[in-house]
């Protein structure tokens, strides 16, 4: 019985697997890049001899991939374009294609590149040979291949087909000037045959962008005797911070997020983290960020190893500190923000952000200073004067008024009665219906002054007959100077 076998496709899984394979392939050479969804690109310049030459390297690759259950189509060629074409379109000819000596002299580049193809096709092992193309055989090897081997998109291949250009050799015979004129307005390299041709024959540079995982700057120190009392470690931590800063300086980077780990004898790890508002590599500042929190570490039976890691770093060029040494104890604003955020929590160290809104609590928002740039989109809207103090949560008050929609006369706030002497208002602020629930009521704000001269900002939430609840409540929202 024929059965339809169905497997769901897992594109993210595939690309993750390919990325793992990419890093795994760094065993052969340092420059490995992911190429599309099904290929790897290895720059084996200067690496092949370590495995006994290109042919042996290709065999070694094949064997390794077969052990993992993968069928690879491998091609080694002087250019990225040629390797790509041969890995995908090389016919089933055996090792070492018939070489012609008619290779143009400009075609050879010193770089040799290998291309791997992780083949999901059903081709048998025998039908996927290794293809090695020496520089002098480039034109002869590529010539018979179809134009789609030049890494062109379907539309361009169709167009070339209509022009009668089926093979790379046919395309290469066209005078370059005419071809360039025809594709002058090509939309990207995938629609640009002259460029692809030049890349395949090595007439233009095409670098490999390797997916190198740079090691994270990290300093690890072990101590002979387990340490039970962490604060005495400060000299060691200072030394670690200095080593970390040297590592960061080497790569012209500064830390934004630091992690301190203390490894316990009994297999537990205690960790501290600190974020900074700008990239920095100052050992003293690093130590200060952690020093006060060492007491919070639970030493248990003692720590025997420590690690300081720059979990996130950003470029930071060396800067001259100034001709005159700044006063030793003074600190900069960015460091102040770091220090306060570490000690008090990032949510308690805020900068204002103004948004374009008439609702006071929305117009002014407080955002963590670490994460956010202050300012805001808002050019000052034409609002009347705002109080100098705003309560996070408007406080309910009891108000006596002459008529339900009239001005307030007296109000009771925090168990004290305020008799209103002066009043201005109302300033009506309607709810933002595109953001809020339909039951949100409008607010009528009044500026009022009591007999002592204290000034308040109070509002009535809703109208008596707006159909959104019962009698409107009154709230005190802010204080005027």
């Amino acid at each position: 019985m024929p059965v339809l076998a169905v497997w769901p496709s897992d594109k993210p899984g595939d690309s993750a697997a390919l990325e793992r394979l990419c890093h795994w392939s760094e065993r052969w050479c340092p420059f490995v890049a992911i190429d599309g969804g099904d290929g790897l690109l290895l720059d084996i310049t200067g690496a092949a001899h370590l495995f006994g030459g290109e042919a042996r390297l290709a065999v070694e690759m094949r064997v390794r991939f077969r052990r993992m259950g993968l069928t690879a189509r491998i091609a080694i060629a002087p250019t990225v374009g040629a390797a790509w074409a041969l890995a995908r379109y090389a016919s089933t000819s055996p090792f070492g294609l018939s070489l012609s000596k008619s290779c143009p002299s400009g075609a050879s580049t010193p770089k040799e590149r290998a291309r791997l193809r992780q083949a999901q096709s059903q081709r048998s092992e025998a039908s996927t040979p290794n293809t090695i193309c020496p520089p002098e055989a480039l034109a002869a090897t590529l010539g018979p291949l179809p134009v789609s081997a030049l890494r062109l998109d379907d539309d361009t291949v169709l167009l070339l087909g209509r022009l009668g250009l089926k093979t790379i050799a046919a395309l290469a015979e066209i005078p370059a000037l005419g071809l360039a004129r025809r594709f002058a307005r090509a939309d990207g390299p995938w629609a640009d045959p002259p460029l692809r041709l030049a890349q395949a024959f090595g007439r233009t540079e095409e670098p490999v962008n390797p997916a190198i995982r740079a090691p994270v700057p990290r300093v690890v120190r072990r101590v002979v005797e387990p340490v039970l009392h962490v604060p005495i470690l400060e000299p060691l931590v200072v030394e670690m911070a200095e080593a970390l800063c040297r590592q960061l300086a080497e790569r012209h980077a500064g830390a934004r997020h630091l992690g301190f780990q203390a490894f316990r004898v009994d297999g537990d790890v205690q960790a501290l983290e600190a974020r900074t508002s700008q990239a920095m590599r100052d050992p003293r500042h690093m130590v200060r960020l952690f020093a006060e929190r060492f007491e919070t570490l639970d030493a248990g039976f003692g720590f025997d190893a420590f690690a300081l890691t720059a979990l996130w770093h950003e470029p930071l060029d060396p800067a001259q500190t100034g001709l005159i040494e700044a006063e030793h104890d003074a600190t900069s604003l960015a460091r102040l923000i770091d220090r306060l955020s570490v000690r008090l929590g990032a949510g308690n160290v805020c900068v204002p952000l103004f948004l374009e809104s008439h609702l006071p609590e929305r117009a002014l928002q407080w955002r963590p200073a670490l994460a956010h740039e202050a300012g805001g989109e808002a050019p000052a809207p034409l609002t009347p004067e705002r109080p100098i103090r705003l309560f996070d949560r408007p406080e309910p008050i009891g108000v006596t008024y002459a008529t339900p929609e009239g001005e307030p006369r007296r109000f009771q706030w925090r168990r004290k009665l305020h008799r209103i002497v002066k009043v201005e208002g109302p300033e009506r602020i309607a709810p933002e219906w595109w953001r809020e629930r339909s039951t949100t009521r409008l607010r009528d704000y009044y500026r009022v002054e009591d007999e002592d001269g204290a000034r308040f900002w109070i509002y009535r939430n809703g109208l008596i007959d707006d159909g959104r609840g019962g009698a409107p409540d009154w709230y005190l929202h802010g204080l005027f100077a």
Binding site: E327, D329, A330, T331, S332, L333, R335, L336, I337, R339, L340, R343, L344, N348, V349, C350, V351, P352, F354, L364, W366, A369, E373, A374, G375, G376, A378, P379, A380, E385, R386, P387, I388, R389, L390, F391, D392, W413, R414, K416, V421, K422, V423, E424, R447, V448, E449, E451, D452, G453, A454, R455, G478, L479, F480, A481
Partner: protein, 239 residues
């Protein structure tokens, strides 16, 4: 000491032209922003203290970034400052205000002291409610010394507190007074007037003044304590 101060303020309140001139001078000297610790006592339901602190900062409000520290009680009782001067501020000039919520008075004082070490700040303002134990003479003395050493003005706003021992250089008491009558809407609150009492000072004469604050111009003007508020004297001054 206090009787002597009372005597001085009594002299100033005598309403003669020369006394007025000297009162204006003394007031200007007392409210000048200097790197020192200034304490302002106010009730938490009255924003006069906060307003007076902002008025003392004057033009520096807009020019630099200040640190504003509150403990949780102050935040609950007195709300948050509304930094109107940060609106439409160019990003290159910094955030304008850095607002800190501290768990308690001790943490607030620590944050203030940290802020005073940062010479980039234009001022450090702290708000502490009541008379917490952490806020003693030593703590205020530390703040005063740090402010003078690093050249950053410090203002400590005490909400609903008793004036206990303190190392502050200037100690004020601020209270709202009925405001000036605006020119157009006479029923509305006008420019605020505060009754300001300088009850301890170093390098200035203690005294008592009534001052009107013009927020648009960042200006504090003395008003006569004997004026009749119904006359709207301050409006003539403004016009």
């Amino acid at each position: 000491m206090s009787t002597h101060h009372a005597l001085l303020s009594a002299e100033i309140e005598e309403d003669s032209p020369e006394n007025r001139a000297s009162a204006t001078e003394a007031f200007a000297a007392a409210t000048a922003l200097q790197p020192r610790l200034v304490e302002v006592f106010a009730e938490s339901r009255d924003a006069a203290g906060c307003g007076f602190a902002m008025a003392q900062l004057g033009a520096r409000l807009r020019s630099g970034t200040m640190l504003w520290v509150q403990d949780r009680v102050a935040l609950r009782d007195h709300g948050r400052p509304y930094p109107h001067w940060c609106r439409a501020r160019p990003k290159a000039e910094g955030p304008g205000i850095l607002h800190i919520v501290a768990r308690d008075a001790g943490q607030a004082l620590w944050a203030m002291e940290e802020g005073l070490r940062c010479a980039e700040l234009s001022a450090v303002i702290g708000e502490v409610a009541g008379n917490p134990r952490a806020l003693d003479f030593t703590a205020t003395r530390r703040l005063a010394v740090a402010a003078e050493r690093f050249g950053v003005p410090a203002l400590l706003l005490r909400l609903g507190s008793q004036a206990d021992l303190s190392g502050a250089r200037m100690r004020w008491r601020a209270r709202s007074r009925p405001s000036l009558v605006p020119r157009w809407n006479v029923a509305a609150p006008g420019m605020p007037i505060w009754s300001l009492e300088l009850f301890r000072a170093r390098g200035a004469r203690p005294g008592q003044w009534d001052a009107a604050y013009d927020r648009a111009a960042d200006r504090l003007d003395l008003v006569s304590p004997l004026r009749d508020p119904a006359l709207g004297e301050g409006e003539r001054r403004r016009g």
